[in-house]
Symmetry: C2
Subunit: 177 residues, 2 copies
């Protein structure tokens, strides 16, 4: 489908069918993520895909004490854990080498969502999770920051949810603030 | 085109035809950006599109003293300046309200690139520019951070450049680090 349609179809999906996502689909999504743009092509990321039993073990770690969100995560058949790795920028920039890393990772998260929607899959970006427990479960080195986790699965609803957004006039202007 | 193809076509374009980008195309790209995902749907952004004479005035501000990059920016017929605005997250999160903002903005930057490529346009994410001078030129409030600027135009080369990326085995794994 064309990209404009894809931006309408991409949404946070929090309700999934009990059906595994094929590895070929995940491979396609992961390649799209790795092809995302990054500052100085530094690619400051590693993607750990979790499927089957590992997805089942990961899901409860999306629920953080004191917050009622993310309990639906146990319905997702797969996750992609996005870790921030060391960035190497060109010399001469007045920014710390990791300055753009989270922005680059945000680009991969959006890319993963578009790639999933394009395959008829639902996804949701999770920013809140038990980071230490996820480190331990997946053997992620302690000095590697886990930035975002994306749930993926076959969506229960396949209708397009209308976008709830600020007025376009508030967020878009031409040639002046 | 399908999204997998779009991830191949999207690349940093640094050479443009002397041909204006239509406003309808920019409107389409800006709507795609505004439909991007954000933490708690906080939409911590404002997009200032620059065209015509304003694009000409903006282009030299992409060149920062001591760095030889971005001199090609004077070929771009349009720019989108992405500013970070106040985010409002749900209560109970253990993160500062602006924690996810740059990641969300990275998602809009990737989205803008995909939307541009889908329309046959080239684009490049610029992270280095004379921030104070851009503030002054566009009347952006001093307390608003300019995060990224995207150049847009008709690309001089329309071939697909092969992706230069780390080995997939280095950045992708399944079920363990």
């Amino acid at each position: 489908m064309d990209f404009q349609q894809l931006t309408l179809e991409r949404a946070s999906c929090r309700s999934y069918e009990d059906k595994a996502v094929e590895k070929t689909a995940l491979d396609t999504i992961l390649q799209a993520a790795a092809y995302s743009p990054s500052a100085c092509n530094s690619q400051p990321w590693k993607f750990v895909a979790c499927t089957d039993d590992m997805a089942k073990q990961l899901a409860p770690l999306m629920v953080v004490e004191g917050l009622s969100i993310n309990k639906w995560a146990n319905q997702a058949s797969a996750f992609i854990v996005i870790c921030e790795t060391k960035a190497k920028l060109m010399g001469g920039l007045d920014k710390d080498s990791q300055y753009y890393a989270f922005s680059d990772i945000g680009g991969t998260a959006a890319t993963i969502q578009y790639a999933a929607s394009d395959l008829g899959l639902g996804s949701c970006i999770l920013g809140s999770f038990q980071e230490k427990a996820v480190h331990d479960l997946l053997g992620i080195p302690a000095d590697v920051k886990i930035r975002l986790i994306i749930s993926i699965g076959y969506p229960k609803s396949d209708g397009i949810r209308p976008k709830s957004r600020k007025d376009m006039a508030e967020v878009i202007s031409y040639n002046a603030w």
